[in-house]
């Protein structure tokens, strides 16, 4: 089957989710990835939102984490305080994988979703942290969605909204954060992972028909590409689930 890059991104992210994980996700494609994973490779994963809904039925795609569609058939309706405490909690937090997005990312997977320019007089304003800073601070693993773009993959962020590996090995510990950090970055061209010893991003794979060169041209810092391989395109099964079970109205896929 033919597929779009958005579909490839959703499938690639879904493949990153481990069975049994508790998936914190936001709106849009991250929600699709979480929904798809549950139907494909991670049947025992549990989707939960910062708004406090746990394991909702999701019969229709929510267009916001506060969409009433996240409330149907949930195990419980917690408050925001409950949802974030669940991630900071020593026993439940370690089972959570967070899916995040941002306007800028640096080589250590730190994210900016706040603004461009000088903080007191921004050239461009974005929505701000929302729960991203909390998730990045609390959970063991995060998966990051990014558009592959020179202005988005930058050596230094204008504003560090959400902690990744900070400045590398020991960075989080020095700052007082718990263990864990970004595991993968899924873009519209490929997938990056992070080196354990340096905390730096490296290219792990390119999507079908995408060259390493074209990816490097779409980022403002260098990364190791020696481990890059071509990523398998979405299978017919994956596409069918995504299109028919997750977003039949194509509210997010388009």
């Amino acid at each position: 089957m033919t597929y779009t890059l958005r579909e490839m991104m959703a499938v690639a992210a879904a493949r990153e989710i481990r069975d049994g994980e508790i998936v914190f996700c936001g709106t849009g494609i991250s929600m699709l990835a979480a929904m798809a994973a549950k139907h494909i490779s991670a049947p025992h994963s549990v989707v939960f939102f910062e708004t406090g809904a746990i394991d909702a039925r999701l019969e229709e795609v929510p267009l916001a984490v506060a969409d009433p569609r996240v409330m149907l058939g949930a195990a419980m309706h917690g408050s925001l305080a409950d949802a974030f405490a669940f991630m900071q909690n020593r026993f439940t937090g370690r089972k959570v994988v967070g899916i995040l997005g941002a306007a800028q990312i640096d080589p250590f997977g730190n994210l900016n979703s706040t603004m461009i320019g000088d903080y007191t007089a921004p050239e461009v304003r974005f929505p701000g942290s929302g729960g991203a800073c909390d998730v990045g601070s609390f959970v063991r693993r995060t998966i990051i969605f990014m558009k592959q773009d020179k202005r988005k993959f930058v050596p230094k962020l204008d504003y560090l909204t959400c902690p990744g590996w900070l400045d590398g090995p020991g960075g989080r510990q020095a700052a007082g954060l718990g263990p864990g950090g970004p595991a993968a970055v899924v873009t519209d061209m490929g997938i990056f992972r992070f080196e354990e010893d340096t905390g730096r991003m490296y290219l792990a794979g390119c999507f079908e028909g995408i060259s390493v060169r074209s990816i490097l041209d779409a980022m403002a810092f260098a990364v190791d590409v020696s481990r890059s391989r071509e990523i398998a395109p979405p299978s017919d099964f994956e596409l069918t689930i995504l299109r028919q079970r997750c977003d039949p109205q194509r509210l997010i896929l388009e």
Binding site: T27, G28, E50, T51, G52, A53, E59, E60, L63, A64, V65, A66, D67, P68, R69, V70, M71, L72, H77, G78, S79, L80, A81, F84, Q88, R90, T114, M115, Y119, T120, A121, P122, E123, V124, R125, F126, P127, G128, S129, G130, G131, A132, C133, D134, S137, F138, Y159, L160, T161, C162, P163, G171, R172, A175, G176, L177, G178, Q249, L251, I252
Partner: protein, 325 residues
């Protein structure tokens, strides 16, 4: 005022009485759900100015207050409305044009600030934000903070864990309590003395209400006290925490109210169009806010059949199969 007296008021009177120019305000709801929109429009209509607004992730309500020119300072975690506005447009314009001073926190930090206010403590600790610019960069400078007794002297502070490595934490961020002058909420049910029942996710409405000096609750249905007291476990606020009760069907429109109506995707898309253009936005305000006497007149302006289209399925809580493209 927070006792068991009858607290029914008109929205016009409640806003006139409790929402004053320059007051510190917080509103309930989250992005496109259960924002107290009728109250927001009334505040714009009464041309309140210089408001200091506290929010966690109120998209539509806060964006319209900003667009209406009511807001001077904003402490917030997230200024977006999901798919309808990844970044709220009037919010973005106001910040980029220097008309709005913003202090950024994380969503949990803002929730904890309301919770601290509700609990009556000056701060609560959190492990979120360590190593980030949320800790380093302040939107409100130390001078401005020292000069204003209604602001804490610090945005936040980082301390070493006084209990050593207890709970595996070496450092904590302490976020200061918020005690707004007024909190506005929209709920499904309330009785005359102000006991409130919210169905579906409560978000941070309960903490925001308890943190505030005054609480105005608009509700879909005014119900008998006995109805709420037959199931006390389903109620979120006791009458002791509420100052004004305003029965107001569709009071959250165009945002959603679980079990009653969905958000209106057409309205929110149209709003995005207006918001992008100054002239169009002025036209929007003139027609939908200043051009109507009250919320009912505003609802009457909506296209025939639209309010029926977003009517919630009683079981699912939202409008099943609603065209949201």
């Amino acid at each position: 005022m927070k006792g068991n007296a009858d607290k029914i008021m008109s929205l016009e009177a409640a806003v006139r009485r409790f929402v004053t120019d320059g007051c510190h305000l917080s509103i309930g709801g989250f992005t496109v759900n259960r924002n107290p929109m009728a109250a927001v429009y009334e505040i714009i209509r009464q041309k309140k100015r210089g408001l200091h607004v506290y929010a966690h992730s109120n998209g539509q309500g806060v964006d319209e207050l900003i667009g209406g020119g009511c807001v001077e300072r904003l402490e917030i975690a997230y200024g977006g409305s999901g798919r309808f506005a990844p970044t709220c447009i009037r919010f973005r314009r106001a910040v980029e044009s220097g008309k709005l001073a913003v202090e950024d926190y994380s969503n949990y930090q803002m929730v904890l600030r309301f919770a601290a206010g509700a609990m009556g403590v000056p701060f609560l600790p959190v492990r979120s934000g360590l190593g980030t610019d949320i800790v380093v960069k302040w939107g409100f400078g130390p001078e401005m903070r020292q000069a204003d007794p209604r602001l804490p002297d610090q945005k936040l502070c980082v301390i070493d864990n006084p209990f050593g490595q207890w709970a595996q934490a070496s450092k904590l961020v302490l976020v200061p309590a918020v005690n707004p002058d007024v909190t506005l909420l929209h709920a499904q049910f309330a009785d005359r003395s102000g006991t409130v029942r919210i169905n579906g996710l409560p978000f941070a409405d309960v903490e925001q209400a308890k943190a505030a000096r005054r609480v105005i609750v608009t509700c879909e249905e005014l119900v008998d006290e006995a109805y709420l007291r037959d199931n006390p476990g389903a109620n979120q606020l006791p009458f002791l925490c509420v100052d004004a009760v305003v029965p107001l069907p569709m009071g959250a429109y165009p945002t959603a109210c679980y079990g009653f109506y969905d958000y209106d995707p057409d309205y929110l898309k149209a709003y995005r169009g207006f918001a992008r253009d100054e002239t169009a936005y002025q036209g929007y305000l003139d027609r939908f806010v200043f051009g109507v006497a009250d919320h009912q007149a505003f609802l009457d302006l909506q296209e025939a059949g639209q309010l029926d289209r977003i009517k919630a399925d009683p079981v699912k809580g939202y409008a099943v199969g609603l065209d949201r493209k």
